[in-house]
């Protein structure tokens, strides 16, 4: 949490610095030379370089500029005796200062960005439940499917996997918007829950794909469930406040029974997914 403060502090410092330089230039507007203007531009260049690369690159750039400008000052004071170097020190100090403030600001922002990315990745790894439907996700699906497959192999139980695919999801989101689609997903998940038995396991394994693992079920029983589900999904009723709206969506549903030729859960899922193509 302390890091958040850093961004505030360095942003404020940067604004103050720019404000101060600009104010000083405006107040001394009669004495300003073209050199001062070039230096003013260089300050902004350093701020940008330092912000978009990193602190060290910014500092090194400012070191080169300090050296270059210092050498110019030396040359001036050696060969043009009249030249005054009064406010030149001001610029020499400002170069590294600008690089530092802007570099630290960008470092602090990047730190938060990286942290965020790390957290997102961790959350993805840890989460096993789909937020909207409350069903388990694909990770749990494979884990459970493996278990069920080995159980069915050992005890000669029959096992069926059913997949439910919503057609044209992207277009639907385009038409109805994410919020409404999420609501519809919730209703679909309720329907699936009602149609299947309690001991069946339900998952949402992709954006547009639901899966049900049905232990102790053979293909005949599964076909009945499939037909029942299809019927229920024909009309989806959604409550919007007082009025109820009915939606018609296209679904593809496929069921496949486990057999000994299927070696692993990935293959099993692939085969069921292939079955989806025949559900017309």
């Amino acid at each position: 949490m302390t890091r958040n403060r850093h961004i505030d502090i360095f942003f404020l410092l940067l604004i103050i610095e720019i404000f101060t330089i600009t104010t000083l230039l405006i107040l001394n507007v009669k004495e300003i030379t073209f050199t001062d203007y070039v230096l003013y531009m260089l300050i902004f260049l350093i701020i940008v370089i330092s912000f978009y690369s990193n602190l060290i690159t910014g500092l090194i750039t400012s070191a080169f500029l300090v050296f270059g400008y210092g050498s110019y000052m030396l040359y001036q004071s050696l060969f043009y005796e009249k030249s005054s170097i009064g406010n030149s020190y001001f610029w020499i100090v400002l170069f590294p200062l600008s690089a530092f403030i802007s570099g630290r600001l960008s470092d602090s922002i990047n730190e938060i960005r990286n942290k965020n990315m790390k957290f997102e990745k961790q959350v993805k790894e840890l989460v096993t439940v789909d937020e909207i439907t409350g069903f388990n996700n694909i990770k749990e699906f494979y884990k459970d499917l493996n278990e069920e497959m080995s159980r069915s192999k050992r005890h000669k139980f029959s096992l069926v996997v059913m997949l439910v695919e919503i057609q044209y999801l992207e277009e639907l989101i385009g038409i109805y918007g994410t919020d409404k689609i999420n609501k519809i997903f919730k209703i679909i998940s309720n329907i699936i829950e009602k149609v299947t038995r309690t001991e069946d396991k339900r998952y949402k394994i992709d954006e547009d794909l639901f899966a049900v693992i049905m232990p102790n079920t053979d293909i005949k029983g599964a076909e009945i469930v499939k037909e029942r589900l299809k019927k229920k999904l024909e009309d989806i009723e959604v409550n919007h406040g007082s009025q109820t709206k009915t939606y018609k969506f296209d679904f593809k549903i496929a069921v496949l029974q486990y057999n000994d030729r299927i070696t692993n859960s990935f293959e099993f899922k692939e085969l069921v997914q292939k079955e989806l193509e025949y559900d017309i």
């Binding site: 060290i56 070191a63 300090v66 050296f67 210092g70 030396l74 030149s88």
Partner: protein
């Protein structure tokens, strides 16, 4: 505008300071380049390393009872196949308990390749170079590694050194990085910590990036046996044997590489008196090397030698003389009528030098994890007025001592750094 002699002297000191600033800014930049290049190459040293040549670790020890025990233990626990490396401690004419401690270690670690060579007044006691020569003659391995008696290398340090040298045929030697173990002890060790880090990132890494050039720091380096054989061992007259041998390695056409991942932690002087003696010896040794090679500079063809000569020359003669000159001119201007007509630029170069110093050292510190903090930056700002000024005295004293030795034909004696 008529320029007087004082003006010319002043111009000279201005110019040489300016040149040194220019050189350092490029060194910093190249140090950073080296850092980015070397950190983009990720080496998984435990998996990628397949060949393990035999290695002899030499540790010269002269009255090192305070540190030798821990050092030897650290060496024996290095991550390297046990039958492929041996540790040779040269107990060089010690009058304290070093020998006793070593004997006990030998008993405890009887299953490891630990060898102890003890010398007395007649066979040894002639300094580090001589001790190293004795150790090297008693070893058989293809590669020689040298550590000082106060070092604690990290477990993988040896692997990194071997990996670096076996993977490049034109490297005659590879040096690692040294860090300060007692950096929090007092302000002197904090200064030394900052100094060693900036030296390694600017002078070592920077020079390597620019000219493929590094100087052996006296500890934590690996060298091919064939190279030492060709050189005929270490030069026992050199006081700074590391700088001397570096020069001879360049002349053979080999390079010295820098491997920042091979880290050793060493103890730095905690007292100003000890620091002063150690540094005076280094300065004296560098002057020895500089003059030895400067004599034949017109015949010199090895570019790296030329650059290093220029480097040492600019540090020890150009810069030192210009600092002294400008100080004298400043004082003269205060108390007498002798004034320079080229006024005002005094302050320009001074401010320039100060700001660049802080910037460059801070950049070097940023390259080292955990060293770039506000405390250190403040220390850097202070360092310029305190620690760095001491260097001037050291350099002058070193030179005086060197010329005294030459004049009176004294035998160079090796002052051993006191331990804490």
């Amino acid at each position: 505008m008529g320029l007087s002699l004082v003006d010319y002297l002043f111009l000279y000191s201005l110019l040489s300071t300016w040149l040194l600033l220019l050189m350092n800014i490029f060194l910093t930049f190249s140090g950073y380049r080296f850092y980015t290049i070397s950190s983009s190459k990720k080496i998984d040293i435990l998996k990628e390393m397949t060949e393990f040549p035999s290695v002899s670790i030499l540790i010269p020890a002269h009255n090192e009872e305070k540190v030798i025990g821990k050092t030897v233990k650290a060496m024996l626990s290095l991550n390297y196949p046990e039958d492929k490396f041996e540790v040779i401690v040269i107990n060089d004419n010690s009058s304290d308990d070093t020998g006793k401690i070593l004997e006990e270690l030998k008993k405890t670690y009887s299953n490891k390749n630990l060898r102890i060579i003890t010398t007395d007044k007649i066979t040894g006691g002639k300094g580090k170079s001589n001790a190293l020569n004795i150790g090297y003659q008693n070893s058989k391995s293809d590669y020689i590694v040298v550590y000082d008696a106060d070092n604690t290398p990290e477990k993988l340090a040896l692997r990194y050194l071997v990996y670096a040298i076996t993977n490049s045929k034109d490297l005659g030697a590879v040096i690692g990085k040294f860090r300060t173990r007692n950096k929090y002890k007092n302000i002197l060790t904090r200064f030394i910590n900052i100094e060693t880090l900036s030296f390694q990132w600017m002078a070592q890494a920077g020079r390597w990036q620019l000219f493929r050039l590094c100087t052996i720091p006296g500890t934590n380096f690996i060298i091919r046996r064939s190279v030492i054989e060709a050189l005929g061992g270490w030069d026992i007259h050199a006081i700074a044997e590391d700088t001397e041998i570096s020069f001879r390695i360049y002349k053979m056409g080999y390079r010295i590489g820098f491997m920042p991942l091979a880290v050793t932690w060493e103890q730095e002087p905690e007292k100003l008196r000890v620091w002063f003696k150690q540094r005076t010896r280094w300065a004296k040794g560098n002057v020895y090397v500089l003059l030895k090679y400067l004599k034949n500079i017109y015949r010199e063809k090895t570019k790296s030698v030329l650059f290093d000569l220029y480097y040492f020359f600019s540090v020890y003669f150009l810069f030192l003389s210009s600092v002294i000159l400008s100080d004298i001119i400043f004082i003269l201007g205060l108390f007498t009528d002798i004034k320079i007509s080229l006024s005002s630029n005094f302050f320009v170069i001074w401010i320039l030098a100060y700001i660049l110093f802080i910037l460059e050292v801070s950049i070097a510190l940023t390259l080292e994890k955990g060293e770039s903090n506000y405390k250190n930056i403040i220390l850097v700002a202070l360092m310029y007025f305190s620690y760095c000024q001491l260097w001037m005295i050291v350099a002058i004293k070193g030179m005086i001592l060197y010329f005294k030795d030459v004049l009176f034909k004294q035998e160079t004696k090796w002052y051993k750094t006191e331990r804490f």
